[in-house]
Symmetry: C2
Subunit: 441 residues, 2 copies
């Protein structure tokens, strides 16, 4: 179904999920306003709350050295008040209804999100619209928030997981590349950033054509679209059509070179935290479903090879898992372990052995079937939560330009073959090794 | 409704929640088996998954110096295999259906929990029943898992929040008291613990009369009871009626003395993490609802006094919040802040000022109403999640011996008066100060 309303908005029912009992479980609908703003909703049968996210296609990889940390700085500053509301007003309105309200910044996008009872959804839309479109960014707020961010950077520096993941990104893509730099910036870049730079960054990237609003739960699509038009149209924002989209969506980016590399950060922690990584797959690579099954068999649960070999059989570490991250033009796979310093060599030997084995032979038929069950089961379990549905809608619409139906995602997982897993394992784990280590010297 | 089945089990409908539209939203039912094992379920309309928890009334406060860390050690060991299943079998069965499966140990209880699609609930009951009642605790597993726990302790030692909260407990109740000791034990106590000690601890505390099973989601109460009887009866466990309940539930414990005290752990972190605490309220204290509202106004959200004064106005810290914890015979309230070292004195001054103000004058009418809205709204939002309902049922049945209906909890929050908040603020924040600091010297 596709309808063009008199306003020029295009609305389409993307897919309808029907339960085994024949009742409609959810409807996904999408509206594109003339300004390019996209609104994707999923109406969930039986829900009493709604989750809303505003996804802006800007993150640390869109920054230059002089604006390093600007996306995250801006995420903080949008809470500091608009021409209509002070920072306290914003807090009070959403705290008063018990809403969960937060935001995060990633390498390729920034997300502001809230979860509220369905009666309070218009309020949440209104507050978010005001924040996104009418932020004041006053100089004294920039200075107070600068101190908050410097403290947040210090907090991340005390977190071994954050330190080792930042080191891995630096080794993979280089400290002078936007992808290789930490999302929050550095003490130096945050101290140097001026209100004028941040305002320019705001005007440049926060445009309707670069924004997706996703809502899941108890809702009515037409009512959401009306509320969004009102809330996001207030400061004339829906007419800002000229703002350019980020470079990665308008030009063909060259694939950044990855590794090999080894790096170590000496910190007086009790544990050594290490990641053994490789270049992975881009976000649109069709082999990512096979990689997902592979990742599950390798280190995705307590029955995985790494959990069994590192923790259950040898007691080498409490925390051990594998991961795969995807970006527009690059990706990483890796194994993360925290262990006592005198276990480091044995951990490295065991993990490298497992990676060699899996690169040579792939996984077994039983691991394939278990991995699929684990991925599909976990996905279906996640669907009861309006927050995770909102995240799925918003992220996919923003970074892929489409939202696959759950049934289609399940079909793609179920279709993965042993040969596909073997091929992707051989290719990815045959790539040069990245090794990041954080801990006592 | 109360029914005595021929088996001697007593089943009762505890309460039924009816929505605004007149439809039944959930049923809470409770069955007590002759062995004392309690099964509490909440059937949720529209749910497709179910969360199950097995709650055993044993935690670190039930340990002596020689068994310090035994509850948590045991929690790990129950995953290591039974007479029927190896550790790998346990992992495989639940990973294969995508179930989330985990456990945690607290000062007064241990909880094993899983979330699965409703069709897989019998499987989850069966695996949990086998683990709880038929654990082997083989010597070689104890040794491998000892290493895992030593690594987990090292991980907690690298986490500033954990270090400062452990220090606070030690200052409050004393390093030689069970309440004042860290839950996971120490390197020394874990290295010294023998399989025989752990087995005695297991036999002593894992008894039906000391256990509650809570399930929430898509379920049928009678079917859950049948599955529990089968799974937990397999190793003759339901006949172990003689095991004593933990001391705190059978004898009137004297209220442990709390503070004052000040302590500092020198660690080369980038941040100082500090907690300013006071003795709080016990779990059964009727004033805990007033304290809940007070805690919300003080440091429970971004509109709270502490967030506004410490972060928004002065930019002194990224993370600042207040908390209240409750135990059978004691409790703590506190304010936790992470800040840059050179901000410590100013943070202490600002927080102490706010605590003085709130002890002297309580909160405003507006803060009262906002705090209630925030607590009630947050609670209702939590109800959509079968996991949080399962947690509420299990913890309340185990530690309070009853589960209040949601409507009753809301009524108690709504009934809190300004005077009650003022009284509890004056009393609690008039108590001697505990100050725990972790960071660079």
């Amino acid at each position: 179904m596709q309808a063009r309303a008199s306003s020029g908005a295009i609305t389409r029912t993307v897919h309808t999920v029907t339960g085994a009992d024949g009742l409609v479980v959810s409807h996904v609908r999408r509206t594109r306003l003339p300004s390019g703003l996209r609104i994707v909703t999923e109406q969930m049968a039986g829900a009493r709350s709604a989750s809303i996210g505003v996804w802006v296609g800007v993150g640390s990889r869109d920054e230059r050295a002089t604006t390093h940390g600007a996306s995250h700085f801006l995420e903080h500053l949008l809470f500091k008040g608009t021409t209509e509301r002070s920072a306290l007003d914003i807090s009070i309105e959403l705290d008063a209804v018990g809403g969960e309200f937060n935001a995060f910044t990633a390498k390729e996008y920034t997300c502001f999100h809230a979860r509220v009872l369905s009666d309070d959804l218009p309020l949440a839309v209104d507050v978010l619209g005001d924040m996104i479109t009418g932020s004041v960014i006053a100089t004294h707020d920039v200075d107070a928030e600068r101190d908050v961010i410097l403290d947040e950077i210090a907090m991340h520096d005390d977190d071994p997981d954050d330190v080792v993941q930042n080191l891995l990104a630096e080794l993979a893509w280089g400290a002078d590349s936007a992808l290789g730099r930490p999302i929050a910036g550095t003490t130096g870049s945050i101290e140097a950033m001026t209100p004028a730079q941040i305002k320019r960054f705001y005007r440049r990237h926060y445009a309707p054509s670069n924004t997706v609003i996703s809502v899941a739960g108890a809702l009515d699509h037409a009512a959401v679209v009306r509320a969004v038009k009102k809330a996001f149209g207030r400061h004339g924002w829906l007419e800002t059509q000229a703002a350019p989209a980020p470079a990665r969506t308008t030009t063909a980016r060259r694939r950044p070179k990855v590794g090999p590399g080894e790096g170590r950060v000496d910190r007086p922690f009790e544990q050594v935290n290490l990641v053994i990584g490789r270049e992975g797959l881009t976000r649109d690579d069709d082999r990512r479903y096979a990689l997902g099954v592979l990742n599950t068999a390798l280190g995705g649960g307590t029955s995985s090879r790494l959990f069994q070999e590192v923790r259950e059989l040898r007691g080498l570490a409490y925390s051990v898992y594998s991961f795969a991250s995807h970006y527009a033009d690059s990706g990483l796979v890796g194994v993360a372990v925290g262990c006592l310093p005198d276990r480091t060599d044995e951990v490295l030997a065991v993990v490298r052995d497992q990676l060699r084995l899996i690169a040579a032979d792939g996984i077994t038929e039983e691991e394939l079937s278990r991995g699929k069950g684990q991925l599909v089961g976990g996905m279906i379990l996640g669907l009861e939560d309006s927050g995770s549905r909102m995240m799925r809608l918003g992220k996919n619409e923003l970074v892929n330009g489409e939202v696959l139906g759950i049934d289609e995602v399940i079909a793609r997982i179920e279709a993965v073959t042993l040969d596909e897993v073997r091929e992707v394992a051989a290719e990815v784990f045959g790539r040069p090794e990245l090794l990041a280590l954080v801990g006592p010297a």
